[in-house]
């Protein structure tokens, strides 16, 4: 009798064991396929790699920049360190919306509390979720937490579902037919694409004027974005962080004067500084015939170093920031960053010398 029971148990074990093995195999399979199928953002469109890269950065950051391409392409973090000893990070991403900036701040606070947060105001003009691809680039890189969930909920366009963010494979499964060499190369690891959030470009394309701005029937900045700006103010206050609002010195997309006035009024009300660098282009020393790589939309390395110099001067003179050049353990980390920075610059310059334009960065590097 007992023997039979044992046998029964063995059979049960056999079935359940294999069933569990199957579940495990399916889970591993899905995990691997997901890794394989998600976009890697390693060539051409590297902007999708930026948000995740923050978690690899080891040094402490006293200054945190939030915003879209107007921060991550316009401010050289290495210049800030080299010239002022400021240890900073740019948590920028393509078309980062105000609520995304807010949640990225919340997310950053889970790891460290910076002394100063610098927020670029251009995104205030968007009151609604804009596009799935930008959402993806900003949100997919965030580490999982309630903050990320909230960021997703706030950012989704009409056709998106949270579940597609929880399991990106549900969104990207049909990429099986368009996998590139890059996809296969970067299944588990990603290369570094920025220097503490700064995306370098060394090529030059002079600014040649912009079309006249379109008159609007309503210049009121959307409530949603302004409310999230208030929440950023509040969050900074709670954590004793100094907040600085800036408008980067680039002219396109157009920053209307009416918007400028509203942000200024907001800044005054909340007692935070707001600096519109459009008016300070000469003081910065920007020469838009050499300091931009895309006809004035964004700065190139030369422009980003000039702007970093200028903004760094403001930061050290107004806030009590550590000069990390004299803190050896941090300085050694930054030395590594500088090495990477210089290599990147040299590599880009080499390509410019050889081809007249960049091949491994930007539009030419996008795989199809």
């Amino acid at each position: 009798m007992k023997k039979i029971t044992n046998n029964d148990n063995l059979i049960k074990l056999y079935y359940i064991g294999f069933a569990l093995l199957g579940v495990a195999a399916a889970a591993v399979g899905i995990w691997y396929l997901q890794k394989l199928l998600v976009p890697k953002y390693q060539r051409g469109v590297v902007e999708g790699s930026m948000i995740a890269e923050y978690y690899q950065s080891e040094e402490p950051h006293e200054v945190l920049f939030l915003g879209d391409c107007e921060v991550y392409e316009n401010i050289s973090t290495v210049a800030l360190y080299r010239d002022y000893g400021i240890s900073s990070y740019i948590r920028g991403s393509a078309q980062q919306l105000t609520w995304q900036s807010y949640y990225l701040l919340e997310d950053t606070l889970r790891y460290e509390t910076p002394d100063v947060v610098v927020f670029n105001v251009l995104a205030l003009k968007y009151g609604e979720p804009q596009s799935e691809s930008y959402n993806r680039m900003t949100l997919d890189g965030m580490a999982w937490s309630l903050t990320k969930w909230n960021a997703i909920e706030a950012s989704m366009t009409e056709d998106e579902h949270v579940i597609d963010y929880v399991f990106p494979i549900l969104r990207y499964h049909s990429r099986w037919s368009e996998l590139t060499a890059t996809d296969r190369e970067y299944v588990f690891d990603r290369d570094r694409v920025t220097v503490n959030g700064y995306y370098m470009r060394t090529d030059v394309m002079p600014e040649a004027g912009f079309p006249d701005p379109t008159p609007l029937t309503d210049y009121t900045l959307p409530e949603t974005s302004m409310e999230y700006l208030s929440r950023i103010v509040e969050l900074c206050r709670e954590n004793n962080i100094e907040l600085v609002l800036i408008k980067a010195p680039t002219l396109y997309p157009h920053w209307y004067e009416q918007w400028d006035e509203q942000v200024r009024a907001f800044a005054d009300r909340n007692n935070v500084p707001y600096i519109n660098y459009i008016y300070l282009r000469d003081d910065i020393g920007l020469d838009m015939s050499t300091d931009t790589y895309d006809a004035g939309l964004h700065l190139n390395l030369s422009g980003a170093e000039k702007f970093a110099d200028y903004i760094g001067d403001y930061l050290v003179s107004h806030y009590n920031l550590t000069d990390f050049r004299s803190v050896p353990e941090v300085a050694s980390m930054w030395e590594n960053d500088i090495v990477f920075y210089d290599q990147l610059r040299d590599a880009q310059n080499a390509e410019l010398a050889e081809y007249g334009q960049l091949q491994s960065w930007g539009a030419n590097a996008i795989e199809n």
Binding site: Y14, Y15, F18, A19, L21, G22, A25, A26, G29, I30, L33, L37, E132, D159, H161, I163, D164, I169, L170, R171, H173, S174, W176, S177
Partner: protein, 527 residues
């Protein structure tokens, strides 16, 4: 809620877990009822009203009829001695009339609801096409699955009236029979006599049953998501611009649609039956390898079986054996000769069945024509049978493999061409397109890159092709061995698990779902 929507998958997953983990085995039917009603409620709370009215009608009718029948039987027995034969006969006639009347009212209500909700606009449209000043359409809800649950209640009512099943006296149990959710999406049409056997009984966790059910669900999703929903994209393009895609493209449409419809419909049934099986409930099969049929009559015995038998049992038989028809049969045999006369009544009944089948499929004329075309083809093959017999008498092809293959292919092509009505949605257009197959020669164009302009990539065709091969091989296994592949696999259990894992991964990666693919509904859930 669609089978292929994530909420549905979660709904079923949660249900199965709660079903076995938290509910005592003899109360599990109650959870099924709650789940079914919730399913309806989330689709649209208004649907609950419609289904409740239908269920309540049939429920009350059944009890009244059964009680009345037992009373009159008892009464008859009691007075057996004192009544003469004539009086007995009269008593029977009168009381039968009462039950008939009851049945009439029950069916009037049930069929009335479906007639009003589903066919009002069809009637208006038809009237409009004949008048100069159009009537406006009315805005009515068509409750989800109404054709399926109405047919189930109608068959139940008739069966109770005939005395072949016992009336269900627990309203909630009866409501579960009517609303059992996996069947609401696209059938099958279950009979009370079949379903009630497993629906209410206490259910224990049966590992084999749950495993079979699980694999079957995966298989259903595989067919549906990997093949059907992918092909539908190309089909939409092809049938959307018929002027551009003529000739050989019509043949492409035929083939793609045959595969698409098969995978969509049988896949959906696999999901339904698989879910039921996981819940310990046996649902009647709806397909039996239809594409292996050797003639159209056999095809209709193998395709959408529960619908076919429904029409046979509740329309064809009652009509053909009714006293009027028997009289007509006698008359025609006397006046038209035995051979012809014998067929007259059969053909009349058959015509009625196919007319009804057409209308049931959808409130549109192309369905009516499609139904009648089926009738014509069946009649033609029936009439040609003696000829065939002669032919086979001369040459002994029949039974040879190659001839069987020929018959299967012939039936497949015939049925696929009839399905064109469903593709082009317009009777005239369908005939025109069918004709263009023989007048427009553009095979070169089809393979000259045109296939890649239909919305599918080379990879998509590859995946669909391989998946169809897989579906075919699994069917072939069953056709040749007579058993399902899953039984073979279960005996080699690790292989069974492996199949589940592989299927699951294939569905996730190669399924045509989400952004970039259009969501599509089961072809059959509108009926």
């Amino acid at each position: 809620m669609l089978f292929t929507s994530l909420p549905f998958v979660l709904f079923v997953a949660v249900l199965v877990v709660v079903y076995y983990a938290f509910v005592p085995h003899n109360e599990r039917w109650g959870l099924l009822l709650i789940a079914s009603l919730a399913f309806y409620f989330f689709a649209d709370p208004k649907y609950l009203i419609f289904i409740s009215v239908t269920a309540l009608t049939a429920y009350i009718f059944a009890i009244l009829t059964e009680d009345y029948n037992s009373k009159r039987k008892a009464y008859l027995k009691e007075h057996k001695a004192e009544w003469d034969a004539d009086y007995k006969k009269r008593y029977k006639t009168v009381t039968t009339r009462v039950t008939r009347l009851l049945l009439f009212f029950a069916l009037l209500i049930c069929l009335g609801i479906i007639a009003v909700t589903k066919y009002t606009n069809f009637v208006i449209e038809t009237i409009n096409s004949m008048r100069s000043e159009p009537l406006s359409f009315v805005n009515v809800i068509v409750p989800m699955g109404i054709s399926f649950y109405t047919f189930q209640t109608v068959s139940y009512s008739i069966d109770v009236a005939r005395g072949t099943v016992k009336a269900q006296r627990n309203f909630w149990k009866f409501l579960l029979f009517v609303s059992f959710f996996p069947q609401l999406v696209q059938g099958p049409i279950s009979r009370y006599g079949d379903l009630s056997q497993t629906l209410y009984e206490p259910k224990n966790f049966d590992f084999r049953g749950v495993s079979y059910g699980f694999l079957r669900i995966l298989w259903g999703y595989f067919k549906k998501l990997v093949v059907a929903d992918r092909l539908v994209i190309a089909l939409k393009t092809l049938t959307g611009s018929p002027d551009e895609y003529k000739g050989a493209f019509v043949f492409v449409v035929m083939m793609l649609y045959a595969a698409q419809l098969y995978c969509d419909f049988t896949g959906g049934i696999d999901i339904t039956i698989g879910i039921a099986q996981m819940l310990g409930i046996t649902v009647k099969e709806n397909f039996d390898l239809p594409y292996f049929s050797k003639n159209i009559k056999e095809y209709w015995n193998r395709w959408h079986i529960t619908m076919g038998t429904w029409f046979t049992d509740y329309i064809f038989y009652p009509l053909s054996v009714s006293p009027t028809m028997l009289k007509l049969s006698k008359w025609s045999r006397q006046h038209l000769g035995n051979e012809v006369g014998k067929r007259v009544t059969v053909y009349i009944s058959c015509f009625a069945v196919w007319l009804a089948t057409g209308i049931w499929h959808g409130a549109a004329w192309h369905f009516v024509v499609w139904g009648l075309m089926n009738f014509v083809v069946i009649m033609a093959s029936q009439e040609l049978e003696p000829l065939y017999a002669k032919f086979h008498g001369k040459f002994s092809f029949k039974g040879r493999h190659w001839y069987s293959a020929f018959e299967i292919l012939r039936t497949f092509l015939l049925m696929s061409s009839l399905k064109l009505f469903d593709c082009y949605r317009n009777v005239g257009l369908t005939f025109k397109m069918f004709g263009s197959m023989f007048t427009t020669f553009n095979i070169g164009k089809v393979f000259g890159g045109s296939l890649l302009e239909l919305g599918l990539t080379r990879g998509d065709y590859m995946v669909a092709f391989l998946a169809i091969i897989a579906v075919f091989l699994v069917s072939l296994y069953k056709y040749l061995r007579g058993v399902n592949l899953r039984e073979f696999l279960f005996d080699k259990y690790p292989l069974f698990v492996l199949s589940c894992v592989v299927l699951f991964l294939c569905i996730v990666v190669f399924g045509a779902y989400g952004t970039g693919f259009d969501a599509s509904q089961f072809i059959y859930n509108q009926f």
